[in-house]
Amino acid sequence: MKKLVGLFLVLAVTVLIPAVDLAFAAGDEPGEYLDRRVIIWNLFYRLMTVGFTVGAVVSGTIIWQCWRFRESHPKAKPTPYEGTDW
């Protein structure tokens, strides 16, 4: 089952998403006059904002975990897997 889910995920990324993308982006209706510089650079800056925010949260979480769950932390406790007296 897990393999199937994985397979469908890979298929979705490699086949379905580009196909759906093409199907929707290639409409026949005429477009409006616009400044593509504004559209594209605005999108770029918004994506950079999201990218850096997510990056900061993810790396911050990892750094905090490394700090909090280090062996020498005052509140460190042995896990059941270690199974030794502390």
């Binding site: 993308d21 982006a25 290639a26 400044d35 593509r36």
Partner: protein, 143 residues
């Protein structure tokens, strides 16, 4: 394990998924806006070959290495190549499209103010790729 809560993980997943969906929707919308060509856009045939660009306007006017356009009009580029892969790029107007032998790729733009801008090849296409340049000259409307 008793006393274990995984709600922060679900919040985390929810926030990231929401951000990804938002990013996808924004990109989709930008692509939709940028891809659809205005009905009255003038077609310019762009041909790339080692190592220069040539242009043909709708009225048959041909230009090599220089392209004259007017403020306030929309232009649709039909981009092709005579030999190897090139990429037609007007950096200042964020126009970028590959020129592929046997294919016609399209991209459009509408210049907003008079000026001179660089045209360049953005796909390595051989020895003199670095100098496969042109000039876009945006002029005031003639009429």
């Amino acid at each position: 394990m008793s006393g274990h809560s995984n709600w922060p993980e679900w919040v985390y997943i929810g926030v990231v998924v929401a951000l990804m969906v938002w990013v996808g929707a924004e990109a989709w919308e930008a692509e939709r806006l940028v891809d659809h060509i205005p009905a009255d856009a003038e077609t310019i045939k762009v041909t790339g070959q080692q190592w220069f660009w040539s242009f043909e306007h709708e009225d048959g006017t041909k230009e090599i290495g220089e392209l004259h356009v007017e403020v306030g009009k929309a232009y649709k580029f039909e981009i092709m190549s005579k030999d190897v892969n090139h990429s037609f790029n007007i950096h200042d107007y964020v126009v970028l499209m590959d020129a592929i032998p046997g294919r016609v790729n399209t991209v459009w733009f509408a210049p907003t103010e008079p000026g001179t801008h660089d045209i360049q090849c953005r796909e390595y296409c051989g020895l003199i790729h670095y100098n496969m340049r042109g000039t876009l000259i945006v002029e005031e409307p003639s009429s």
